[in-house]
């Protein structure tokens, strides 16, 4: 059995601001980490590996060369292999172009039974890339998996969490699942694995490795959506500011609640 897990490197902090003077995006690019949702995706892969014989977990990420950090982390946690797909021609990719790039990479890696993604990322917050990869691969997807119930020879049974109900679903291989946050308890990278695998060679792929090598299908060119403008959120409301001691402020809140007939 082979599992491909898609992970992403995201900024360490989500605080992005616009410099009021220059109008430039100010972003702390130095601190990067693995998308926290992907930890659950990796753990789900390791869980399946532990419950089956001969299972390989292959971590995959798309991004600049520095994103190999998250691949190494995945390997220290328990992944067997890691691949980075990187190319300047992937720059400016939206959800569709990103999903297409990853699907081309997954086809190149080949012979997979399950693709596992985190539910969403903390920087894009769209939760769309997983289902789009599945469509490009021509395989079904099951979202929000919170429990792996049973792994059969040709299918897997999982429980998915929706708003007001859960569903127990059986889906045949190959398939893609996205893992709900807190669906499991992710393990930490192991020191032993780190010592053992710190020189493990990672696969580096780019456009030239793909079946579809038309640069028009990748990056900004392959992206149907484009960002027309970025701007700071509106400040519309008139705000009454109240300062003072804890006692004065407590009384002020009490008065506001009283005026509005809440107390």
């Amino acid at each position: 059995m082979k599992i491909i897990t898609c992970i992403k490197q995201v900024p360490g902090s989500t605080q992005v601001e616009i410099d009021p003077v220059t109008g430039n995006l100010v972003r702390d690019g130095k601190n990067a980490k693995m998308n926290p949702y992907d930890l659950f995706a990796l753990e789900a892969a390791f869980e399946i590996k532990e419950r089956t014989n001969h299972c390989e977990v292959h971590a995959l990420t798309m991004g600049p060369f520095s994103a190999t950090d998250v691949l190494r982390n995945a390997i220290y946690m328990g992944a067997d292999k890691g691949s980075l797909v990187t190319d300047r021609r992937f720059a400016g990719a939206d959800v569709l172009a990103t999903a297409y790039t990853l699907s081309q990479t997954i086809q190149k890696i080949g012979h997979y039974d399950i693709v596992i993604c985190g539910k969403q990322t903390t920087d894009g917050d769209t939760a769309q890339v997983g289902p789009e990869i599945a469509e490009f691969l021509g395989i079904p997807h099951v979202p929000y998996v919170k429990e792996i119930v049973e792994i059969k020879e040709h299918s897997i049974i999982v429980t998915s969490a929706y708003d007001f109900y859960d569903e127990k679903i059986e889906v045949a291989f190959p398939c893609l699942i996205t893992i709900e946050k807190d669906g499991n308890v992710p393990r930490l990278p192991s020191y032993r694995r780190k010592r053992k695998y710190q020189d493990l060679k990672l696969d580096i792929l780019s456009l030239k490795d793909f079946h579809d090598q038309d640069p028009g299908n990748y990056g900004l060119s392959g992206s149907p959506t484009q960002v027309e403008e970025i701007f700071p959120p509106q400040k519309t409301k008139d705000s009454i500011r109240i300062e003072g001691s804890g006692k004065e402020l407590g009384e002020a809140i009490y008065q506001i609640l009283k005026e509005n007939r809440y107390v």
């Binding site: 430039n24 999903a99 409301k237």
Partner: protein, 402 residues
Amino acid sequence: MAYIKVNQDKITKEVAEKLIKICPFGAFDYENDYLSINAACRICKLCVNKGPVGACEFIDDVREKIDKTLFSGVTVFIEQHQNKAHPVSWELVGKAKELAAINGEPVLAVIIGDDVEHIAQEALTYGVDRVHVYQDEHYRDFNVERYTNVLEHFFQTQQNNVFLYGGTPMGRSFAPKVAARLKTGLTADCTALEMTDERDLLQIRPAFGGNIMAKIHTPNTRPQMATVRYKMFNKPEKQAPTGKIIWEDTSTLSKKTTISILDHYNKPKVTDISDAEVIIAVGRAFKKEKDLELIEPLRKKLNAEVGCTRPLIENGWFDPKKQIGLSGRTVKPKLIINLGISGAVQFIEGMKDSELIISVNRDPNNKLFDISHYAIVGDVYDVLPELNRLIDQIIGGKNEVS
């Protein structure tokens, strides 16, 4: 392909340093007097627009432009579960009517299910012009493969301009599958939608996970698609129906699937903060879980629901259903009291339409203050005990019944 070209003859050490500073994504590498762009580039064009003149240049594609007048109709996917429509669908119909009116497009609705005529009738009362119903016993439960075939068929036959979906768990799983099938764009969790007179849908949402809004468009692909969270827009008034129901033939559509639902469990009903009238929202200023007891007197007095920010969910202090924000629940209560919340944009977007907003935070520059009716500059650990004392007085005293 579209890309940023670096004009090396304009690059000096000084210019390179300037550009490296401007780029928010760290996409420039300067080595051996050569400035190159790596895969971290997002083509945000800041280097072109704000950098030294002529150093960077945006080279665009020359592509055949589509004829935008060939696509017409703002379509809402009406989500149903166990033959009940999700209320977000009607909110989207309200928005669709506004968007469609700008260029005189029709408002369309698609319903997929079994025994859903009552939902189609309901759609007409909200002012939909044409309700397309795909009714089949195979469509009783949501199945992403079958439902995608349906929307593909709908677009092929209707050539609609826009698809709107509720940003529910179902919509967020379904819409991307359709987007990839139709090879078109999809913007998640839009907080505002606008229509230009050239039929371009402007999709506005927080971007880069931070305190920035992005206006996104889909310049050369149709349909234009967006998901919108529940309670983001208002439900329209009911009216006398003027539209019609169209029963689609489902016999030719593939029902093949490798997914089967083995079991279905309704979760025990928990009070949903989305429907709460009064909410106390707590944030990271609370240092220990036990300190949350400080809000108890106020909560009891106001009969409030308690919501929280993402870090508190990560601490495991609350059920994820209690999270307010775009990655949690959108709320629109009559009163919300924010205690010790720093105000990330994703939180603000999830509660900014509340009728009365009171925020307590010791940071005078707190972003949440900008959208609050009352900005209380103080530490929750100082303010709450005083407020509790006043509340305890009335509870203990004669005002209890009034």
